[in-house]
């Protein structure tokens, strides 16, 4: 049976209302991004490991802004490390062992899995179309906060804090 025109109109109206309600009910309100500081990511760091700060945990899944210095690999297009202080990126190193802990070591083509986990950086995954900044540039990133202890599959960089779908602003 063919539906009558007025019935089609009614169905379309109901669908549109449902879609609007759905959008309103299930999407997050457009909260402003909350400023997060790298030195305050963890409430404690001891020989037993680092513990996320309360604010860090509360912001999981939300929009945050983080300011720091880029440590990037020119061969990797959509992700980089944001560090508290300017770092040297040691791409040719095949082991981390010969470098101070305050230097972030990245292995762009590394086979090694033993990358030190930095507690004074976040790992940034850029939104589509964003360009990776050069190492040493001071930048502010805005994106969704994730808290995982994970090793990035491409850079092999191990991080405890990630910011995804990120946009960035170069400060200096």
């Amino acid at each position: 049976m063919q539906p009558k025109p007025n019935n089609i109109f009614s169905l379309g109206l109901i669908a549109a209302i449902l879609a609007a309600v759905s959008t309103f009910a299930f999407s997050k309100p457009n909260k402003p991004a909350v400023k997060l500081e790298i030195p305050k990511l963890f409430s404690s760091i001891s020989e037993r490991g680092a513990v996320y700060a309360k604010q860090t945990l509360e912001l999981r899944g939300n929009l945050v802004t983080v300011t720091g210095f880029a440590a990037s690999d020119p061969n990797v297009k959509d992700r980089f490390v944001l560090t508290r202080t300017r770092k040297t990126v040691c791409s040719p190193c095949d082991e981390s062992a010969d470098y101070p802990s305050s230097i972030t070591v990245i292995f762009p083509n590394a086979n090694t899995e033993a990358v030190p986990v930095s507690t004074d950086s976040v790992f940034v995954y850029l939104a589509n179309g964003q360009k990776v900044p050069a190492t040493g540039e001071k930048i502010r990133v805005t994106g969704k906060l994730e808290l995982n202890q994970s090793t990035d599959s491409i850079t092999r960089y191990s991080s405890l804090v990630q910011v995804r779908d990120t946009s960035l602003q170069i400060l200096e």
């Binding site: 020989e47 490991g49 680092a50 996320y52 440590a71 040297t88 791409s91 802990s101 986990v117």
Partner: protein, 626 residues
């Protein structure tokens, strides 16, 4: 030529022409009687050629297989020192049979494997060499014929010194060249400005009973890293870059390589001595790892952590900086991929655990002691003792000094009447020489020097302890002048030479530990022989800065933050542009020794000789098991 083939030892199989030559020589010798000699030239072709042809026919064509044997040809082993024998054959065509013998006796019970077509390997673990000459003979036959290979080892006989060293304390300043050590001495002691005489020596050299200049090299490179250089000291063997106490093999598994027994393993096995390992870097770093673990890849951090507690050594005392390989993967900052928690597990094994200086100083002398005082490497001595900047210390504000750890380690270890071996590493010397932060590096040498002083004072009461202070490799640091700090940082005209250099006067102001403060009216002017482009100011900075940053194209440029400091000037580098830091050098390094056996260290020595000299000083008999 590939790197692999470059290091293959020549194979003993002989092509036909060579067989003829050999047959010719044998026959010539056989016919060398007066009578035959007289007429030999006349009937030589008639007799010799048919006989030679018969010999060649009997031998058959030689196999074209390549054979590698480890321990390598020319290895020097302590008699009784356990090693894994590995024979690897490639280019085989249908292997028929083989025999592998040591000193004329056929060896059995090999584990045979194959890494691919035409390849075969045989591994036999825990064999040992006898005193004197040893020969490994490998004979293989494949479809093409036979091939043989002979390998010679030298077994060093145990000695019985009149006064053997019961204990050994080995101090290693990672990366400390002669120049770095001397620069630290100038900071610590300075000169008498009225006559130019040095005001004293470092404790690590003062009153030494033996001293040597140590040359370093490794199996695959004459520039060593901290892993294979420590292997030279710990086993007397040359190993590949990044390898710890293992020989090369052709399998991808980095943990199955043929092993060489470590001096700490021998001491545990042969006399039940105690072992301690102390370092201010992360606990699985190469130098500490070399005294209790085996791996082809120093980056096998989790395995190294496990080997501390499960391996042959099981050190009685372990105290380190970084904990990241001893805590479960769920802990923030852990590098492990499993739930192993060595802090908890070690306490079940009877270890007392400490995590800060306050508790360490109260620890007394536990039988077993495990200390972790940071998540990663310690910051430098200056960061901990003088500058105390939160950017450098982070959450770790109660870290012990190297002498605190060493004193407590000795207190625990000395209870064993069978003696002990303690390795103490000042690991951050190297960590800061790489980025050319010579101020931090030299003051870490001074932290070590105070530690050596206390150890010497302890040993002076007993006369049974050999103390050795050495480095594993050098960096290209050189002190070339004096710096007039009144003219501000980075003033090139303030870096004066010869008589205008003045006499550095750091020693006039000491910190709470009796070590000079890093500020002096007349400081050092220091440079490096091998470095990337970077900016120098001649004065230290309280918050560490990397010397270079990436240029975004695979190279490195001077860190603009350093270059923007007042007076900073750029030094044009001489390393390839993809190098971000300074590098290890081939330069010899110092060694000073004190106590029984110290005189065994003299002149110019290869780094592997340190192992044998320690064994001789202790009268170590590796052929026995307690």
């Amino acid at each position: 030529m590939s790197q692999e083939s470059r290091f293959q030892i020549a194979i003993d199989h002989q092509p036909r022409a060579t067989c003829l030559t050999l047959a010719d020589k044998a026959l010539t010798k056989a016919f060398q009687t007066d009578h035959v000699k007289t007429n030999f030239k006349n009937w030589y072709p008639l007799v010799l050629l048919p006989i030679a042809a018969t010999v060649v026919s009997a031998l058959g064509a030689p196999s074209e297989a390549d054979i590698n044997v480890y321990p390598y040809d020319g290895a020097k082993l302590l008699a009784g020192q356990r090693v894994d024998l590995r024979v690897e054959a490639s280019k085989l065509e249908d292997l028929k049979n083989y025999t592998i013998s040591l000193n004329g006796k056929a060896l059995t019970d090999f584990v045979q494997t194959s890494q691919g077509a035409g390849q075969a390997e045989w591994t036999l673990r825990n064999i040992s060499a006898k005193s004197g000459a040893n020969e490994v003979l490998v004979k293989l036959t494949d479809a093409k014929g036979e091939v043989t290979k002979r390998i010679a080892w030298t077994g060093v006989a145990p000695t019985r010194p009149l006064k053997p060293a019961k204990n050994v304390i080995l101090f290693i300043a990672d990366g400390m060249s002669w120049n770095t050590m001397h620069g630290a001495q100038v900071i610590a002691k300075g000169y008498n400005p009225s006559n130019g005489m040095p005001r004293g020596k470092l404790e690590m050299e003062a009153g030494a009973d033996g001293m040597a200049s140590i040359s370093t090299s490794s199996f695959d490179s004459y520039i060593v890293d901290s892993a294979n250089s420590a292997t030279s000291i710990a086993t007397g063997q040359k190993a590949e870059v990044n390898a710890l106490n293992v020989y090369r093999d052709n399998s991808p598994d980095t943990l199955d390589n043929p092993r060489a027994e470590i001096i700490t393993e021998i001491l545990k096995r042969s006399r039940g001595a105690s072992v301690g390992i102390v370092s201010n870097v992360f606990g699985t770093d190469a130098t500490p790892a070399a005294f209790a673990s085996h791996t082809r890849r120093r980056g096998d951090y989790s395995s190294i952590a496990d080997q501390y507690f499960k391996g042959n050594v099981k050190p009685d005392v372990l105290m380190f900086g970084g904990s990241e390989d001893f805590i479960p993967s769920t802990a923030g900052g852990s590098r492990r991929k499993d739930a192993t928690d060595w802090i908890t597990e070690s306490q079940k094994m009877g270890y007392t655990f400490v995590n800060n200086r306050t508790d360490l100083l109260k620890a007394g002398a536990p039988d077993k002691l495990f200390g972790l005082f940071n998540l990663d490497n310690f910051p430098s001595y200056l960061d901990r003792a003088t500058w105390k900047r939160p950017e450098m210390l982070g959450a770790f504000t109660d870290m012990p000094y190297l002498w605190d750890m060493t004193n407590t380690a000795i207190s625990s270890l000395e209870k064993n009447d069978k003696g002990f071996f303690l390795m103490v590493e000042a690991g951050m010397v190297d960590k800061y020489l790489h980025p050319m932060d010579w101020t931090r590096a030299m003051f870490d040498v001074l932290e070590l020097d105070k530690t050596v002083k206390l150890a010497k004072e302890w040993a002076a009461k007993r006369d049974d302890t050999l103390i050795i202070v050495t480095a594993d490799h050098g960096h290209s640091l050189s002190v070339f002048g004096g710096y007039d700090t009144s003219k501000g940082a980075g003033n090139r005209d303030a870096a004066q030479v010869y008589e205008k250099a003045g006499f550095p006067n750091y020693f006039e102001k000491l910190d709470q530990n009796g070590i000079p403060l890093p500020t002096a009216a007349r400081g050092l002017a220091v440079g490096f022989g091998a470095h990337p482009d970077y900016c120098e100011t001649y004065v230290g900075r309280e918050v560490y800065q990397a010397p270079t940053v990436s240029d975004g194209k695979g190279g490195f440029v001077p860190n603009p933050k350093v270059c923007s400091e007042p007076g900073a000037f750029q030094r044009i580098g001489n390393l390839p542009k993809d190098q971000s830091q300074g590098v290890h050098t081939a330069d010899p390094v110092p060694l000073f020794a004190f106590g029984p056996g110290a005189k065994l260290f003299q002149g110019s020595m290869d780094q592997t000789e340190i192992f044998f000299a320690i064994a001789n000083a202790m009268g170590l008999n590796a052929t026995q098991t307690k």
